[in-house]
Amino acid sequence: MPSAVFDVLVSNMIHFFKNRLARGTELIGQMSLGRLEFELMQILWSRGASNVREVIQELDRPLAYTTVMTTLDRLYKKNLLDRHMPDRAFVYSPRLSREEWERRRAQSFVAGFLAGAPASRDLLLSSFLDAVGQHDAVLLDELEKKIQKKRKELFRRGPS
Protein backbone atom coordinates (compact mmCIF):
# COMPACT_ATOMS: atom_id res chain seq x y z
CA MET A 1 0.00 0.00 0.00
CA PRO A 2 2.66 2.63 0.89
CA SER A 3 4.52 1.84 -2.34
CA ALA A 4 1.30 2.39 -4.33
CA VAL A 5 0.82 5.76 -2.66
CA PHE A 6 4.46 6.58 -3.39
CA ASP A 7 3.97 5.62 -7.07
CA VAL A 8 0.92 7.86 -7.35
CA LEU A 9 2.79 10.74 -5.74
CA VAL A 10 5.82 10.30 -8.00
CA SER A 11 3.67 10.07 -11.13
CA ASN A 12 1.75 13.17 -10.04
CA MET A 13 5.01 15.01 -9.46
CA ILE A 14 6.26 14.02 -12.92
CA HIS A 15 2.94 15.12 -14.42
CA PHE A 16 3.18 18.43 -12.57
CA PHE A 17 6.72 19.15 -13.80
CA LYS A 18 5.83 18.05 -17.33
CA ASN A 19 2.91 20.49 -17.22
CA ARG A 20 5.18 23.09 -15.73
CA LEU A 21 7.58 22.68 -18.65
CA ALA A 22 4.78 22.62 -21.19
CA ARG A 23 3.28 25.72 -19.64
CA GLY A 24 6.46 27.69 -20.17
CA THR A 25 5.12 28.89 -23.46
CA GLU A 26 1.85 29.99 -21.91
CA LEU A 27 3.64 32.65 -19.97
CA ILE A 28 4.18 34.74 -23.03
CA GLY A 29 0.97 33.80 -24.72
CA GLN A 30 1.88 30.72 -26.77
CA MET A 31 0.88 27.83 -24.57
CA SER A 32 0.74 24.29 -25.81
CA LEU A 33 -2.77 23.61 -27.04
CA GLY A 34 -5.30 21.09 -25.90
CA ARG A 35 -6.99 18.80 -28.43
CA LEU A 36 -10.07 20.93 -29.03
CA GLU A 37 -8.05 24.14 -28.93
CA PHE A 38 -5.75 22.80 -31.62
CA GLU A 39 -8.73 21.65 -33.73
CA LEU A 40 -10.27 25.12 -33.51
CA MET A 41 -6.97 26.78 -34.36
CA GLN A 42 -6.64 24.53 -37.40
CA ILE A 43 -10.13 25.51 -38.56
CA LEU A 44 -9.34 29.19 -38.13
CA TRP A 45 -5.97 28.82 -39.85
CA SER A 46 -7.65 27.20 -42.85
CA ARG A 47 -10.90 29.28 -42.93
CA GLY A 48 -9.67 32.61 -41.63
CA ALA A 49 -11.96 34.86 -39.61
CA SER A 50 -15.06 32.99 -38.47
CA ASN A 51 -17.75 33.24 -35.84
CA VAL A 52 -18.69 30.46 -33.44
CA ARG A 53 -21.42 28.98 -35.65
CA GLU A 54 -19.09 28.82 -38.67
CA VAL A 55 -16.45 27.07 -36.59
CA ILE A 56 -19.04 24.55 -35.31
CA GLN A 57 -20.04 23.72 -38.89
CA GLU A 58 -16.43 22.87 -39.70
CA LEU A 59 -16.03 20.48 -36.77
CA ASP A 60 -16.25 16.77 -37.50
CA ARG A 61 -18.24 16.10 -34.30
CA PRO A 62 -21.24 17.82 -32.75
CA LEU A 63 -20.25 20.21 -29.97
CA ALA A 64 -22.35 22.65 -27.95
CA TYR A 65 -22.21 26.31 -28.86
CA THR A 66 -21.08 27.15 -25.34
CA THR A 67 -18.21 24.63 -25.46
CA VAL A 68 -16.80 26.06 -28.68
CA MET A 69 -17.44 29.60 -27.51
CA THR A 70 -15.60 28.98 -24.22
CA THR A 71 -12.65 27.38 -26.01
CA LEU A 72 -12.38 30.26 -28.49
CA ASP A 73 -12.56 32.68 -25.59
CA ARG A 74 -9.71 30.81 -23.91
CA LEU A 75 -7.63 31.01 -27.10
CA TYR A 76 -8.37 34.73 -27.26
CA LYS A 77 -7.14 35.10 -23.69
CA LYS A 78 -3.98 33.26 -24.63
CA ASN A 79 -3.40 35.94 -27.27
CA LEU A 80 -3.68 33.40 -30.05
CA LEU A 81 -6.84 34.92 -31.52
CA ASP A 82 -8.12 38.38 -32.32
CA ARG A 83 -11.81 39.06 -32.09
CA HIS A 84 -14.22 41.79 -33.08
CA MET A 85 -17.98 42.11 -33.09
CA PRO A 86 -19.18 43.34 -36.49
CA ASP A 87 -22.74 42.24 -35.84
CA ARG A 88 -24.09 40.42 -32.79
CA ALA A 89 -21.51 37.64 -32.44
CA PHE A 90 -17.76 37.71 -32.07
CA VAL A 91 -15.70 36.94 -35.16
CA TYR A 92 -12.41 35.27 -34.27
CA SER A 93 -9.27 35.29 -36.39
CA PRO A 94 -5.81 33.87 -35.70
CA ARG A 95 -3.21 36.39 -34.61
CA LEU A 96 -0.36 34.31 -35.98
CA SER A 97 0.04 32.00 -38.95
CA ARG A 98 0.57 28.37 -38.09
CA GLU A 99 4.26 28.55 -39.04
CA GLU A 100 4.77 31.66 -36.96
CA TRP A 101 2.98 30.06 -33.98
CA GLU A 102 5.17 26.94 -34.20
CA ARG A 103 8.33 29.01 -34.47
CA ARG A 104 7.43 31.18 -31.47
CA ARG A 105 6.35 28.15 -29.49
CA ALA A 106 9.76 26.52 -30.00
CA GLN A 107 11.58 29.75 -29.14
CA SER A 108 9.65 30.43 -25.98
CA PHE A 109 9.77 26.88 -24.65
CA VAL A 110 12.92 27.30 -22.54
CA ALA A 111 12.63 31.06 -22.05
CA GLY A 112 9.12 30.76 -20.71
CA PHE A 113 10.05 28.15 -18.16
CA LEU A 114 13.07 30.06 -16.93
CA ALA A 115 11.12 33.29 -16.70
CA GLY A 116 8.58 31.70 -14.36
CA ALA A 117 4.92 32.44 -14.20
CA PRO A 118 3.40 35.88 -13.89
CA ALA A 119 2.05 36.83 -10.48
CA SER A 120 -0.91 34.75 -9.44
CA ARG A 121 -2.93 37.87 -8.76
CA ASP A 122 -2.53 39.06 -12.35
CA LEU A 123 -3.82 35.83 -13.80
CA LEU A 124 -6.59 35.51 -11.28
CA LEU A 125 -7.43 39.10 -11.84
CA SER A 126 -7.90 38.44 -15.55
CA SER A 127 -10.94 36.29 -14.82
CA PHE A 128 -12.44 39.28 -13.02
CA LEU A 129 -11.47 41.56 -15.84
CA ASP A 130 -13.22 39.45 -18.41
CA ALA A 131 -16.00 38.78 -15.99
CA VAL A 132 -17.94 41.84 -16.86
CA GLY A 133 -16.34 42.42 -20.22
CA GLN A 134 -17.97 42.02 -23.59
CA HIS A 135 -19.94 38.83 -24.01
CA ASP A 136 -20.91 37.10 -27.19
CA ALA A 137 -24.40 38.36 -27.97
CA VAL A 138 -25.45 35.04 -29.50
CA LEU A 139 -24.44 33.21 -26.34
CA LEU A 140 -26.38 35.70 -24.24
CA ASP A 141 -29.41 35.24 -26.51
CA GLU A 142 -29.21 31.48 -26.08
CA LEU A 143 -29.02 31.88 -22.32
CA GLU A 144 -31.97 34.28 -22.43
CA LYS A 145 -34.00 31.69 -24.35
CA LYS A 146 -33.17 29.06 -21.75
CA ILE A 147 -34.28 31.40 -18.96
CA GLN A 148 -37.53 32.21 -20.77
CA LYS A 149 -38.20 28.51 -21.31
CA LYS A 150 -37.61 27.78 -17.65
CA ARG A 151 -39.76 30.73 -16.62
CA LYS A 152 -42.66 29.39 -18.69
CA GLU A 153 -42.14 25.93 -17.23
CA LEU A 154 -42.25 27.27 -13.68
CA PHE A 155 -45.25 29.47 -14.52
CA ARG A 156 -47.16 26.42 -15.79
CA ARG A 157 -46.35 24.57 -12.60
CA GLY A 158 -47.50 27.49 -10.47
CA PRO A 159 -45.87 28.99 -7.35
CA SER A 160 -43.63 26.66 -5.29
Binding site: L9, N12, M13, H15, F16, R20, T66, M69, T70, D73, R74, A115, G116, A117, P118, A119, S120, R121, L123, L124, L125, S127, F128, L129, D130, A131, V132, G133, Q134, H135, L139, L140, E142, L143, E144, K146, I147, K150, R151, L154, P159, S160
Partner: protein
Amino acid sequence: MSAPYVLRLLCLCLASFFLVSSIAGLIAASASRAAVRMAETMQPRSAARFLFFVRLLPLALGVGAVLGLCIPSYLWLEPHGTPERVGLICLTLAFLAVASCCLSLIRTGRAMAGSLRCKRSWQLAGRETQLKGGASLALVVKKEAPLLALAGVLRPRMVISDAVLRSLSAEELDVALHHENAHRVSRDNLKRLLLLLAPGPIPFVRGFAFLEQAWAKFSEWAADDEATQGDAHRALSLAGALLRVARMGAGPRLSFLHTSLVAGDHDLSARIDRLLRLDHARPVPFPRT
Protein backbone atom coordinates in the same frame (compact mmCIF):
# COMPACT_ATOMS: atom_id res chain seq x y z
CA MET B 1 21.40 35.62 23.58
CA SER B 2 24.09 36.78 21.13
CA ALA B 3 23.44 38.13 17.64
CA PRO B 4 25.14 35.24 15.76
CA TYR B 5 23.07 32.77 17.80
CA VAL B 6 19.82 34.54 16.84
CA LEU B 7 20.90 34.94 13.20
CA ARG B 8 21.67 31.22 12.98
CA LEU B 9 18.23 30.52 14.42
CA LEU B 10 16.65 32.85 11.88
CA CYS B 11 18.47 31.15 8.97
CA LEU B 12 17.47 27.75 10.27
CA CYS B 13 13.83 28.78 10.67
CA LEU B 14 13.65 30.24 7.16
CA ALA B 15 15.39 27.22 5.62
CA SER B 16 13.13 24.78 7.48
CA PHE B 17 10.04 26.75 6.52
CA PHE B 18 11.04 26.74 2.87
CA LEU B 19 11.94 23.06 2.85
CA VAL B 20 8.73 21.86 4.52
CA SER B 21 6.35 24.25 2.73
CA SER B 22 7.95 23.62 -0.67
CA ILE B 23 7.83 19.84 -0.41
CA ALA B 24 4.25 19.97 0.86
CA GLY B 25 3.45 22.60 -1.78
CA LEU B 26 4.84 20.48 -4.61
CA ILE B 27 2.84 17.49 -3.42
CA ALA B 28 -0.32 19.63 -3.07
CA ALA B 29 0.21 21.26 -6.47
CA SER B 30 0.81 17.95 -8.20
CA ALA B 31 -2.26 16.50 -6.54
CA SER B 32 -4.42 19.57 -7.27
CA ARG B 33 -6.31 17.94 -10.16
CA ALA B 34 -7.16 14.96 -7.97
CA ALA B 35 -8.23 17.37 -5.20
CA VAL B 36 -10.51 19.27 -7.59
CA ARG B 37 -12.00 16.00 -8.85
CA MET B 38 -12.71 15.03 -5.25
CA ALA B 39 -14.20 18.48 -4.59
CA GLU B 40 -16.55 18.05 -7.54
CA THR B 41 -18.29 15.25 -5.69
CA MET B 42 -19.04 17.54 -2.72
CA GLN B 43 -21.51 20.34 -2.18
CA PRO B 44 -20.01 23.66 -3.37
CA ARG B 45 -19.46 25.13 0.10
CA SER B 46 -17.68 21.99 1.36
CA ALA B 47 -15.72 21.83 -1.90
CA ALA B 48 -14.56 25.43 -1.47
CA ARG B 49 -13.55 24.74 2.13
CA PHE B 50 -11.68 21.58 1.14
CA LEU B 51 -9.74 23.32 -1.66
CA PHE B 52 -8.94 26.25 0.61
CA PHE B 53 -7.58 23.81 3.18
CA VAL B 54 -5.43 22.03 0.56
CA ARG B 55 -4.09 25.37 -0.71
CA LEU B 56 -3.11 26.61 2.75
CA LEU B 57 -1.86 23.29 4.10
CA PRO B 58 1.75 23.73 2.88
CA LEU B 59 1.97 27.13 4.56
CA ALA B 60 0.49 25.75 7.77
CA LEU B 61 2.91 22.82 7.75
CA GLY B 62 5.85 25.16 7.16
CA VAL B 63 4.85 27.44 10.03
CA GLY B 64 4.09 24.42 12.23
CA ALA B 65 7.51 22.91 11.56
CA VAL B 66 9.22 26.16 12.53
CA LEU B 67 7.17 26.86 15.65
CA GLY B 68 6.74 23.30 16.83
CA LEU B 69 10.07 21.75 15.94
CA CYS B 70 12.73 24.13 14.78
CA ILE B 71 12.65 26.87 17.42
CA PRO B 72 12.16 24.61 20.50
CA SER B 73 14.85 22.13 19.45
CA TYR B 74 17.32 24.90 18.61
CA LEU B 75 16.78 26.71 21.90
CA TRP B 76 16.93 23.46 23.83
CA LEU B 77 19.82 21.70 22.10
CA GLU B 78 22.03 24.35 20.50
CA PRO B 79 24.79 25.55 22.87
CA HIS B 80 25.07 29.33 23.12
CA GLY B 81 28.77 29.87 22.81
CA THR B 82 29.49 27.61 19.82
CA PRO B 83 31.31 29.49 17.03
CA GLU B 84 29.39 27.77 14.25
CA ARG B 85 28.86 29.00 10.68
CA VAL B 86 25.70 28.62 8.66
CA GLY B 87 26.18 26.23 5.73
CA LEU B 88 25.70 27.19 2.11
CA ILE B 89 22.66 24.96 1.63
CA CYS B 90 20.97 26.42 4.69
CA LEU B 91 21.74 29.95 3.50
CA THR B 92 20.39 29.20 0.01
CA LEU B 93 17.17 27.76 1.41
CA ALA B 94 16.79 30.74 3.74
CA PHE B 95 17.28 33.08 0.79
CA LEU B 96 14.66 31.21 -1.22
CA ALA B 97 12.25 31.46 1.73
CA VAL B 98 12.79 35.21 1.90
CA ALA B 99 12.31 35.52 -1.89
CA SER B 100 9.13 33.45 -1.74
CA CYS B 101 7.66 35.49 1.12
CA CYS B 102 8.65 38.78 -0.53
CA LEU B 103 6.91 37.77 -3.76
CA SER B 104 3.74 36.95 -1.84
CA LEU B 105 3.89 40.25 0.04
CA ILE B 106 4.41 42.21 -3.19
CA ARG B 107 1.48 40.40 -4.81
CA THR B 108 -0.72 41.08 -1.77
CA GLY B 109 0.45 44.70 -1.56
CA ARG B 110 -0.46 45.28 -5.20
CA ALA B 111 -3.87 43.72 -4.76
CA MET B 112 -4.55 45.72 -1.60
CA ALA B 113 -3.40 48.97 -3.20
CA GLY B 114 -5.68 48.33 -6.17
CA SER B 115 -8.58 47.53 -3.88
CA LEU B 116 -8.06 50.66 -1.82
CA ARG B 117 -7.87 52.79 -4.95
CA CYS B 118 -11.17 51.38 -6.20
CA LYS B 119 -12.81 51.74 -2.81
CA ARG B 120 -11.74 55.36 -2.48
CA SER B 121 -12.99 56.26 -5.94
CA TRP B 122 -16.30 54.52 -5.26
CA GLN B 123 -16.67 56.29 -1.93
CA LEU B 124 -16.14 59.63 -3.65
CA ALA B 125 -18.69 58.85 -6.35
CA GLY B 126 -21.21 57.03 -4.21
CA ARG B 127 -23.75 57.34 -1.44
CA GLU B 128 -24.60 54.90 1.32
CA THR B 129 -28.03 53.35 1.01
CA GLN B 130 -29.89 50.60 2.82
CA LEU B 131 -31.04 48.20 0.12
CA LYS B 132 -33.71 45.59 0.57
CA GLY B 133 -31.99 42.19 0.84
CA GLY B 134 -28.63 43.69 1.81
CA ALA B 135 -27.59 42.95 5.38
CA SER B 136 -25.93 46.32 5.81
CA LEU B 137 -25.51 49.65 4.06
CA ALA B 138 -24.45 49.45 0.43
CA LEU B 139 -22.48 52.00 -1.50
CA VAL B 140 -24.43 53.07 -4.56
CA VAL B 141 -22.04 54.49 -7.12
CA LYS B 142 -23.12 56.84 -9.88
CA LYS B 143 -21.73 54.81 -12.74
CA GLU B 144 -23.14 53.25 -15.85
CA ALA B 145 -20.78 50.29 -15.44
CA PRO B 146 -22.20 46.89 -14.45
CA LEU B 147 -20.77 47.01 -10.95
CA LEU B 148 -22.08 44.78 -8.21
CA ALA B 149 -19.33 43.66 -5.90
CA LEU B 150 -18.25 43.08 -2.35
CA ALA B 151 -15.20 45.19 -1.55
CA GLY B 152 -12.99 45.12 1.53
CA VAL B 153 -11.44 42.41 3.63
CA LEU B 154 -12.24 42.91 7.30
CA ARG B 155 -15.41 44.95 6.89
CA PRO B 156 -16.53 44.12 3.36
CA ARG B 157 -19.03 46.47 1.82
CA MET B 158 -21.45 45.98 -1.00
CA VAL B 159 -20.85 48.30 -3.93
CA ILE B 160 -23.46 48.66 -6.63
CA SER B 161 -23.74 50.99 -9.57
CA ASP B 162 -26.82 53.03 -10.44
CA ALA B 163 -27.03 51.16 -13.73
CA VAL B 164 -27.33 47.75 -12.04
CA LEU B 165 -29.79 49.12 -9.51
CA ARG B 166 -31.99 50.44 -12.31
CA SER B 167 -31.84 47.41 -14.57
CA LEU B 168 -32.54 44.61 -12.07
CA SER B 169 -36.06 43.84 -10.97
CA ALA B 170 -36.82 43.84 -7.24
CA GLU B 171 -36.60 40.04 -7.02
CA GLU B 172 -33.41 39.87 -9.09
CA LEU B 173 -31.81 42.56 -6.96
CA ASP B 174 -32.83 40.78 -3.78
CA VAL B 175 -31.29 37.47 -4.81
CA ALA B 176 -28.16 39.19 -6.21
CA LEU B 177 -27.67 41.01 -2.91
CA HIS B 178 -28.15 37.72 -1.06
CA HIS B 179 -25.47 36.22 -3.31
CA GLU B 180 -22.99 38.93 -2.37
CA ASN B 181 -24.07 38.68 1.25
CA ALA B 182 -23.23 34.97 1.16
CA HIS B 183 -19.68 35.97 0.17
CA ARG B 184 -19.60 38.34 3.11
CA VAL B 185 -20.83 35.72 5.60
CA SER B 186 -18.29 33.16 4.42
CA ARG B 187 -15.55 35.83 4.51
CA ASP B 188 -14.48 35.09 0.96
CA ASN B 189 -12.51 38.32 0.61
CA LEU B 190 -10.47 37.47 3.69
CA LYS B 191 -9.83 34.03 2.23
CA ARG B 192 -8.70 35.70 -1.00
CA LEU B 193 -6.21 37.73 1.02
CA LEU B 194 -4.88 34.57 2.69
CA LEU B 195 -4.54 32.89 -0.71
CA LEU B 196 -2.51 35.84 -1.92
CA LEU B 197 -0.35 35.79 1.19
CA ALA B 198 0.37 32.06 1.03
CA PRO B 199 3.57 31.55 -0.98
CA GLY B 200 3.72 29.21 -3.96
CA PRO B 201 5.67 25.94 -3.86
CA ILE B 202 8.80 27.52 -5.36
CA PRO B 203 9.55 31.21 -5.98
CA PHE B 204 8.54 32.30 -9.51
CA VAL B 205 6.68 29.04 -10.13
CA ARG B 206 2.93 29.33 -10.05
CA GLY B 207 1.79 25.93 -8.92
CA PHE B 208 -1.56 26.68 -7.31
CA ALA B 209 -3.38 28.54 -10.07
CA PHE B 210 -5.64 25.60 -10.89
CA LEU B 211 -6.52 25.07 -7.24
CA GLU B 212 -7.18 28.78 -6.67
CA GLN B 213 -9.37 29.08 -9.73
CA ALA B 214 -11.33 26.00 -8.70
CA TRP B 215 -11.75 27.48 -5.22
CA ALA B 216 -13.05 30.73 -6.73
CA LYS B 217 -15.59 28.84 -8.84
CA PHE B 218 -16.85 26.75 -5.96
CA SER B 219 -17.18 29.87 -3.79
CA GLU B 220 -19.36 31.41 -6.48
CA TRP B 221 -21.52 28.32 -6.73
CA ALA B 222 -21.79 28.14 -2.95
CA ALA B 223 -22.92 31.78 -2.85
CA ASP B 224 -25.43 30.98 -5.62
CA ASP B 225 -26.81 28.09 -3.59
CA GLU B 226 -27.04 30.16 -0.43
CA ALA B 227 -28.78 32.98 -2.28
CA THR B 228 -31.30 30.72 -3.99
CA GLN B 229 -31.86 28.38 -0.99
CA GLY B 230 -32.91 25.58 -3.30
CA ASP B 231 -35.85 27.60 -4.64
CA ALA B 232 -36.25 27.30 -8.42
CA HIS B 233 -37.90 30.74 -8.68
CA ARG B 234 -35.03 32.42 -6.86
CA ALA B 235 -32.56 30.47 -9.00
CA LEU B 236 -34.32 31.78 -12.08
CA SER B 237 -34.12 35.33 -10.73
CA LEU B 238 -30.41 34.96 -10.06
CA ALA B 239 -29.85 33.58 -13.57
CA GLY B 240 -31.78 36.56 -14.92
CA ALA B 241 -29.69 38.96 -12.83
CA LEU B 242 -26.45 37.38 -14.09
CA LEU B 243 -27.62 37.72 -17.66
CA ARG B 244 -28.71 41.33 -17.22
CA VAL B 245 -25.36 42.29 -15.68
CA ALA B 246 -23.52 40.43 -18.45
CA ARG B 247 -25.55 42.27 -21.09
CA MET B 248 -24.50 45.59 -19.66
CA GLY B 249 -21.09 45.24 -21.29
CA ALA B 250 -17.61 46.24 -20.17
CA GLY B 251 -17.25 46.83 -16.48
CA PRO B 252 -14.63 48.38 -14.23
CA ARG B 253 -11.36 46.59 -13.54
CA LEU B 254 -11.81 44.66 -10.31
CA SER B 255 -9.05 43.57 -7.97
CA PHE B 256 -8.69 40.01 -6.74
CA LEU B 257 -9.76 41.27 -3.33
CA HIS B 258 -13.23 42.05 -4.62
CA THR B 259 -15.95 39.54 -5.11
CA SER B 260 -18.12 40.32 -8.10
CA LEU B 261 -21.53 38.97 -9.07
CA VAL B 262 -20.38 37.85 -12.51
CA ALA B 263 -17.07 36.28 -11.63
CA GLY B 264 -15.93 34.76 -14.90
CA ASP B 265 -16.80 34.99 -18.57
CA HIS B 266 -16.33 31.28 -19.17
CA ASP B 267 -18.32 30.58 -16.03
CA LEU B 268 -21.36 32.55 -17.00
CA SER B 269 -23.14 29.99 -19.19
CA ALA B 270 -22.16 27.16 -16.86
CA ARG B 271 -23.53 29.02 -13.85
CA ILE B 272 -26.76 29.92 -15.57
CA ASP B 273 -27.22 26.33 -16.77
CA ARG B 274 -26.68 25.12 -13.24
CA LEU B 275 -29.18 27.60 -11.79
CA LEU B 276 -31.78 26.54 -14.34
CA ARG B 277 -31.28 22.90 -13.40
CA LEU B 278 -31.92 23.75 -9.76
CA ASP B 279 -35.29 22.18 -9.28
CA HIS B 280 -34.88 20.51 -5.94
CA ALA B 281 -35.08 21.58 -2.34
CA ARG B 282 -31.40 20.71 -1.95
CA PRO B 283 -28.60 22.37 -3.99
CA VAL B 284 -27.13 20.16 -6.71
CA PRO B 285 -23.37 19.76 -7.18
CA PHE B 286 -21.89 21.20 -10.32
CA PRO B 287 -21.11 18.83 -13.19
CA ARG B 288 -17.48 18.25 -14.16
CA THR B 289 -16.13 20.64 -16.76
